[in-house]
């Protein structure tokens, strides 16, 4: 049903003797939410860092739409259409909410090496930033400095910036961690809506959220893939339950 946009072939990342990511082969499809779950230290974030170009793989290959992007620097990966949000809030605290989104939108211009026309006169950037602002539900906070927004709002801002980049692939690293339940509902609905025409890779610890949005699940442990499958297959996989789901408590999952 889905066509593969992004894939990895035996990708590994070692720090000294430790293999943080160990021979991961995965395909990510357009129109799907592919969730990666696993205990802390399983290598999920490192794996995302490899996909986004922020860290270079030790071995293996990453292919995006037929192009080898394994060793491209982060800014080039981003320009190709792979955008990410961060586990640790990563914004411009001194700038207003609007300007944060604006910078993200401006990155989609052919070049920002333009020196005379004021940035605010670029109507297409304005329009794209406005769209991202509205989609993320932050419209009424647009003039507030990002540092004065609540933690949950800052997380929403991360996603708004991601949207303004108009990526084809969204790498979401714990997008709803620390959000209030009303904020996380907005984001989960947004992820569902975006999933229709985007490829989404989601790392999340909140199992309710994961099972609410994921089309495919991969469970990682110690840098390796433990299992990949449809949500109901993962729920009933005894190995996964022992390694990971079990410790989170069976209640929310079996319910």
């Amino acid at each position: 049903m889905c066509n593969t946009v992004l894939s990895t072939e035996l990708v590994s990342k070692s720090f000294g003797g430790l293999a943080a990511v160990d021979n991961i082969t995965l395909q990510f499809q357009k129109g799907c939410v592919h969730a990666i779950i696993g205990p802390n230290g399983a290598g999920k974030t490192t794996f995302i860092n490899l996909l986004s170009g922020e860290q270079a793989a030790t071995s293996g290959k990453i292919i995006f739409q037929g192009q080898d992007i394994t060793y491209l620097p982060a800014h080039k990966v981003s320009q190709l259409g792979i955008g990410r949000s961060y586990q640790q809030t990563n914004i411009f605290p001194n700038f207003s909410c609007w300007k944060n989104i604006w910078l993200a939108a401006q990155s989609r211009q052919k070049s920002s090496m333009r020196f005379f026309k004021p940035a605010s006169n670029y109507i297409e950037v304005s329009r794209s930033a406005k769209r991202a602002l509205d989609l993320s539900g932050l419209a009424k906070f647009s003039e507030i400095p990002a540092s004065e927004m609540s933690y949950g709002q800052q997380r929403q801002l991360e996603i708004a910036m991601l949207l303004a980049m108009q990526p084809r692939v969204l790498l979401l690293d714990e997008p709803i961690a620390g959000m209030s339940s009303s904020e996380s509902i907005i984001v989960i609905e947004l992820i569902k809506r975006l999933a229709r025409d985007h490829c989404i890779v989601l790392i999340e610890h909140d199992m309710d959220a994961v099972f609410a949005v994921a089309d495919i699940l991969t469970v990682m442990n110690n840098g390796r893939i433990l299992a990949t499958g449809l949500p109901h297959e993962i729920k009933n996989n005894s190995e996964v339950v022992n390694a990971y789901l079990g410790e989170e408590g069976m209640e929310p999952i079996s319910g």
């Binding site: 990563n90 993200a104 990155s107 090496m113 020196f115 670029y122």
Partner: protein, 328 residues
């Protein structure tokens, strides 16, 4: 982030510039020269503010471009006649831009304290090059016998040998550089460098090749510093290796911090404050026996400004701004 001057800042700047413009009418020769030095150093410091205050690059070797600009005037001026102003200025700006591209290409790769060290090392290399090169006067420095001028046949339009012409030319240059930098900071490019200052890692994630933007910012700043050097060389028609040394880099940095980084116009306040205070502290009639050791008083002054004003002397003006007018 104050980019476009608020109404208060614009009024203050206008008054300060009017005062500067009236100096040649009332002041004696010494005072005119002092004011001229303050203007030229303000251009130099303003270019450094683009790096420190807006791009987050703390350069400790910015005098390399200031001194180079001055030396280029000496090197390209013939000994028996004055060189065309436009040719001389183009050569100065062009060559300092080339030097800034080369030095920037290496130093912008580094960050934080390493960037400070690399820029300092490049500037000291340039210092010793001119210090030891007999062709440019070596450690004694060198004279510029005929300063650049703009002439059409017998008609002299601009002659920088004339003190008042140089004075108003420099004042005009300050306004031009200030307006130019405001345009640059409002542009998409300006937004990118300001983003880099706050969170470079995030800018890369957004898809900006931050190395390139930092390099271009470094080249713009270096070229403007070279322009300031060009003007400085015309004051006395004398250049010396000290212009490239780390003392000058340090003075520019003190002016930026004294005036308030990330404000542009703060460089003017910093330069005026620095030169003005130096004159006051050195005057035995005012400071008595300490006059000989005026640097001690200057140190106390700088420390007080940094401790008690949130963003240097510029805070004296911007504290009256409404908050809404600040973000542009």
């Amino acid at each position: 982030m104050v980019t476009v001057p608020s109404r208060n800042v614009a009024i203050c700047l206008f008054v300060i510039l009017l005062c500067f413009a009236s100096v040649p009418l009332f002041g004696d020769k010494y005072f005119v020269k002092l004011a001229l030095r303050a203007i030229i150093f303000s251009i130099f410091a303003m270019s450094l503010d683009l790096l420190i205050g807006y791009t987050g690059l703390v350069s400790f070797g910015h005098a390399a471009f200031f001194g180079l600009g001055a030396y280029i005037v000496h090197l390209v001026s013939p000994v028996d006649e004055s060189l065309n102003l436009f040719i001389c200025l183009s050569l100065t700006l062009g060559l300092t831009a080339v030097a800034a591209s080369i030095i920037g290409a290496f130093s912008v790769r580094t960050k934080g304290v390493y960037f400070i060290m690399v820029t300092l090392a490049f500037a000291q290399m340039m210092f010793y090059f001119f210090f030891n090169w007999p062709g440019a006067g070596g450690s004694d420095g060198a004279f510029i016998f005929f300063k650049p001028a703009l002439k059409f046949g017998d008609l002299t339009v601009i002659d920088l040998d004339d003190g008042h012409t140089l004075y108003f030319f420099s004042l005009f240059a300050w306004v031009a550089c200030y307006i130019l930098l405001i345009f640059v900071l409002r542009s998409p490019f300006g937004q990118v460098i300001q983003g880099i200052k706050i969170n470079e890692h995030r800018m890369q994630g957004l898809g900006y090749d931050t190395y390139l933007y930092k390099l271009v910012s470094f080249v713009i700043a270096g070229t403007i510093a070279g322009f300031a050097g060009f003007l400085f060389a015309c004051i006395d028609g004398f250049v010396s290796p000290g212009l490239l040394g780390w003392r000058e880099s340090g003075i520019a940095m003190v002016m930026v911090i004294l005036g308030g980084q990330g404000t542009l116009f703060g460089a003017l306040l910093g330069s005026v404050g620095f030169h003005g205070m130096e004159e006051i502290f050195r005057e035995p009639a005012i400071t008595g026996v300490i006059a000989e050791h005026w640097q001690i008083l200057m140190g106390i002054f700088v420390i007080c400004v940094v401790l008690f004003l949130k963003n240097g002397l510029s805070a004296l003006i911007t504290r009256f701004d409404s908050k809404a007018g600040e973000d542009v």
